[in-house]
């Protein structure tokens, strides 16, 4: 009895000291094995196109005659700098993205604030509200386009009913961009609102009660307690939304095709039509890379701000 107990103890103790690291090593091997398919696939699928597109942005390249491709260095970029349409599309991209982002946050915050109460029926309303996020940009782009129709569109009809003049939304250089922004705000405000709501609800009820006993009004509570506590969330969601807005292609392409003229021509649309309508592959890649740079500037900016906020 005593011997067997001792041998069990040995069995247990002896490998435990040396085996800890062996066990760790085998776990690492397993982890690497599990990661390999995903990481390998992603490397393959992202590194090649990235390098290829960077290379192409320095080529003069015609789709029909790939054999005639010639290296032109930064000439494509240099030409962009002198291209008015390019500069205008940079401006349009920024206006579209920042305006959409700002509106999504203003509406999102107001709506989240309204949702932030314990009442019957709230969860059903929240669920309904989420639907636009999941709808197809093509389908809902067309839906908005339908509503923007000058002759039989619902929006002009409503304008007329309240005594305002009809507007030819998508044919107006003034109104086309706001019209597209509205559609984007419509689709993504629910996303922002529901994340802000989750943030608000993660604030401990006791903090809220302490604020109430400290005599804060609802507005003071929002401004001095909720907003500062939500800052990290706002930064993260802001970054996600801003980057997605900068990349937006489908919604704008469906509603206006970049028109009228170049009124809603953003960088993705500009790159698309330069490449697939004018078949200027080099310049098209160069435009995309300017977009990549802009996206990364914003991403870095946000991450720096976020890191500073956390300190």
């Amino acid at each position: 009895m005593a011997i067997s107990a001792k041998s069990i103890e040995f069995d247990h103790v002896a490998p435990a000291s040396a085996g800890a690291s062996r066990q760790e090593r085998s776990e690492r091997r397993l982890a690497t094995l599990l990661l390999l398919p995903a990481v390998g696939f992603l490397l393959l699928m992202t590194i090649f196109p990235t390098i290829y597109s960077l290379w192409m942005s320095m080529q003069q390249y015609n789709l029909s005659r790939p054999d005639l491709a010639t290296f032109v260095g930064l000439r494509n970029y240099g030409q962009l700098l002198q291209d008015d349409i390019f500069w205008k599309s940079v401006r349009t991209t920024l206006v579209f993205s920042l305006a959409a982002l700002a509106l999504q946050f203003v509406f999102g915050f107001l709506i989240a604030n309204m949702f932030d109460r314990e009442r019957r029926g709230m969860s059903v309303l929240r669920t309904l509200f989420i639907i636009p996020v999941f709808t197809s940009p093509v389908a809902l782009g067309l839906t908005w386009r339908y509503m923007y129709q000058p002759g039989y569109g619902l929006i002009n009809y409503l304008l007329e009913q309240v005594g305002l003049p009809r507007i030819n939304w998508l044919a107006s250089t003034e109104w086309a961009l706001p019209a597209v922004i509205v559609a984007d705000v419509w689709q993504w405000t629910p996303f922002v609102a529901l994340i802000l709501l989750a943030g608000m609800q993660s604030i401990s009820p006791e903090i809220t009660e302490a604020a109430e006993l400290d005599g804060l009004s609802r507005a003071q509570y929002m401004w001095r307690i909720v907003l500062p506590l939500l800052t990290p969330i706002i930064m993260v969601v802001g970054l996600i939304r801003l980057i997605d807005a900068l990349k937006t292609f489908d919604l704008i392409y469906i509603i206006t095709r970049g028109g009228p003229g170049t009124a809603t021509y953003t960088l993705p649309l500009h790159a698309y039509s330069t490449g697939f309508a004018s078949f200027l592959m080099g310049p098209s890649a160069a435009i995309s890379w300017v977009l990549v740079i802009i996206v990364n500037i914003f991403a870095t900016l946000f991450l720096v701000l976020l890191a500073r906020g956390e300190k």
Partner: protein
């Protein structure tokens, strides 16, 4: 238990007004969806009416046209095949990687997770061209496989990030308790971890499915006839001199149905899925 009162949210009637107000906002917000669904049951004459028509005799004409002349069944099938395959592959690869990143000690795991997140920064427009050229040369253009590969690449990082979030939330105590109960690695996975994160997997699958199903730019460039998807087909309802509004409405309604069902079945989990990553 305690009826929490946030500052300024007075008890009683004001609460009722707020609910009514929110209900109003939500219904107004969803009006465009209601309007396009309504349109799908209108005849062309009613659609082009100058005064919007809310009450009319519904017709199935648009749906008949959609599945008849336009042969919408084909792109619908294409989309289902591409999207389902994408979802399955993404979930399988994603679960493996997320498990390693979320519950195991991986050298450089944090960097890998960040790298995956940073893939989001890459605009699709910047890499669609290389894929177009490469797929043309390899014969993957206008095939299911060509599109599936691209969609997996686009959705995998996000899926891994989400699944990792769900896996991290499962307390390690649970594994350890199961280990002490004598369960092996596989048994722990199958009987403890998977059941706990199943809703998270479902939500990730839905996000992947929806975003792949709705994707437009890649499908537009990489498919033409054989593998054309629903969004590409719908975008072709914009014709030089007219837009087939009835077909737009009918196709939008068909796409909306599964979304509605899923959103309501999994509402709580979807809320969590959306907020994961941002709130944490």
């Amino acid at each position: 238990m305690s009826a929490m009162a946030r500052p300024g949210s007075a008890r009683g009637f004001r609460g009722g007004i707020v609910v009514a107000l929110i209900a109003g906002v939500v219904l107004l917000w969803l009006f465009p969806i209601y309007w396009i669904v309504l349109t799908s049951f209108k005849t062309p004459r009613i659609i082009n009416e100058k005064v919007p028509v809310f009450w009319f005799t519904p017709t199935m004409e648009n749906y008949e046209h959609l599945f008849g002349d336009i042969n919408f069944g084909r792109p619908l099938l294409n989309s289902m095949i591409v999207t389902s395959a994408t979802t399955v592959i993404v979930i399988v690869l994603g679960l493996l990687a997320a498990y390693a990143l979320g519950r195991m000690d991986v050298p450089g795991g944090k960097h890998i997770a960040l790298w995956m997140l940073s893939l989001r920064f890459m605009p699709p427009i910047a890499i669609v061209l290389p894929f177009f050229i490469a797929w043309q040369r390899t014969g993957l253009i206008d095939t299911y496989l060509g599109l599936i590969l691209v969609y997996v690449a686009f959705n995998l990082p996000f899926a891994i990030w989400m699944l990792r979030g769900f896996l991290v939330e499962v307390p390690r105590d649970l594994d350890e308790a199961a280990m002490l109960d004598g369960l092996g690695h596989v048994a722990i996975l199958r009987r403890i971890i998977f059941p706990v994160i199943a809703p998270g997997v479902a939500v990730t699958a839905i996000f992947t499915f929806v975003f792949a199903f709705n994707e437009y730019l890649m499908a537009l460039v990489l498919t033409s006839r054989n593998a054309s998807t629903v969004p590409v087909t719908v975008s072709k309802f914009i014709q030089p001199y007219t837009i087939l509004w009835g077909d737009v409405g009918a196709s939008a309604t068909i796409q909306l149905l599964p979304i509605l069902v899923v959103v309501f079945l999994l509402q709580r989990h979807i809320m969590r899925g959306i907020t994961l990553g941002a709130v944490k």
